[in-house]
């Protein structure tokens, strides 16, 4: 272990111990580590935003571009100025235009991404599963393919039914006010099961990820102690 490794190792060791001390409750050391982390991350992010966004996309073209390019830059520059000025409470109205620009952009990405990125491809998968040619691709697995396709359709329709917003048409009690119209309510029961299965699998994945992080920290602490005590 050289000096560089020792210094960074010690920093990492101390921060790990301080952060993990939260396991026994909120304490001074945890707060110290987290606030140091917050401040440093904010400082780093500010540098990155200036260095990789503002500088190359606004400042450099403004300084080195042709007059036509500079003229075009009046638009983003104006939007930026309005956004900054809108932070003064009395001038908050100025923020409408830049924020409207961002809102319009976000909305369009949302629509395009949702329809062409998810709705169409995912619906196609459901339909493709029912292509009879696919059922006979692998000999001996035809029945499984058919079952698979049927379950996929039932599960997808059931899950979608679960999300139905409208309530049962005729409600007699408060309990019924939580229910969907009859047919959709029945399908939603199936959907519940599939949503539960999905969430369970995702939960297992998340735990796995978090567990690897825990293992990594345990190895880091153990190895650092061993290296420190066992000779550098």
């Amino acid at each position: 272990m050289n000096l560089n490794e020792l210094i960074w190792g010690a920093v990492g060791f101390l921060l790990t111990v301080m952060a993990l001390s939260y396991l026994i409750g909120d304490n001074f050391f945890f707060r110290l580590a987290t606030h140091l982390f917050i401040g440093l991350t904010a400082g780093y992010l500010a540098v990155i935003l200036i260095n990789q966004i503002i500088w190359p996309h606004l400042v450099v073209p403004l300084a080195t571009g042709t007059w036509t390019e500079r003229l075009w830059l009046v638009i983003p520059l104006g939007l930026v100025l309005l956004l900054i000025l809108s932070q003064i409470p009395k001038l908050s109205g100025l923020g409408k235009v830049p924020l409207a620009f961002l809102a319009g952009l976000t909305a369009a990405i949302a629509i395009g991404g949702a329809v062409f990125g998810t709705l169409i491809p995912q619906s196609r998968v459901v339909l493709d599963a029912f292509d009879p040619a696919r059922w006979y691709e692998i000999p001996g697995q035809t029945w499984l393919r058919i079952l698979d396709a049927a379950v996929m359709l039932l599960g997808t329709v059931g899950t979608l039914s679960y999300f139905h917003f409208g309530r049962k048409f005729k409600t007699g009690s408060k309990d019924e006010e939580t229910q969907r119209p009859l047919l959709l309510e029945g399908l939603s029961k199936v959907g519940q099961v599939f949503i539960g299965i999905t969430l369970g699998a995702v939960f297992a994945g998340i735990f796995s990820t978090a567990l690897v992080a825990l293992i990594d920290r345990l190895i880091f602490l153990g190895v650092f102690i061993i290296q420190l005590t066992g000779g550098m």
Partner: protein, 204 residues
């Protein structure tokens, strides 16, 4: 006037970008420009957001509230990281070590804490949720996925067991597909609400 201007800007920008999906090659240069302006705005908004963070801690220090000491830590760390970043540049190896050797231990430790939190929270699943079709499915699926991930269940290639196992492995995808489709529908309507000026997060 401001009200109409805001709505008009949102609708025009939205329609131009949306049209970009349709007339991709024709609108590509304009779209790139619009995205670039959006990116600059996002960057400036990010800096303003950091300003909010600093202002909050400055207020705590000025009022000398409880735990102001930690606000001082935040400000010192911020100034240090910012000045070092400007002087050394983010590409510098020393700066990289400085940032990552703080971020990785703390972030990984937070995830490690999450592992422990989930570990004892799992004890309460049924107590909290009760016996419902969804909670039972959740429980069964979680246990199945965890065991499967360990590689404890081994089946031969092309056997019936492997086929059945593959079928069960694919079950989470069914719900996932339904959830994805549902979320996409929600995203579509939310986007339309903004473009039709029903939602105006930029101000009334």
């Amino acid at each position: 006037m401001k009200k109409i201007l805001g709505i008009a800007v949102a609708i025009i920008v939205g329609l131009v970008v949306l049209a970009g999906y349709f007339f991709q090659s024709q609108l590509s240069p304009i779209l790139a420009l619009v995205f670039e302006w959006g990116l600059v705005l996002i960057g400036v908004a990010g800096l303003i957001g950091i300003g909010y963070l600093l202002a909050m801690h400055m207020r705590k220090i000025v009022r000398w509230e409880k735990r102001s000491f930690f606000s001082i830590i935040v400000l010192i760390a911020f100034l240090f990281a910012m000045i070092a970043g400007i002087l050394l540049t983010p590409q510098n190896a020393l700066y990289r070590d400085l940032v990552l050797n703080v971020q990785i231990p703390v972030e990984t430790s937070l995830l490690a804490i999450l592992a422990v939190t989930l570990f004892y929270a799992s004890l309460r699943l049924i107590r909290v949720r009760g016996w419902t079709p969804m909670s039972i499915a959740f429980l069964a699926s979680a246990i199945f996925s965890l065991i499967l991930d360990l590689g404890i269940i081994q089946t031969g290639v092309g056997t019936i067991a492997s086929t059945v196992l593959a079928f069960f492995e694919r079950l989470p995808l069914v719900g996932a597909r339904g959830i994805l489709l549902g979320m996409a529908l929600g995203g579509l309507v939310v986007g339309l609400r903004v473009l039709l000026a029903i939602d105006r997060p930029y101000g009334e």
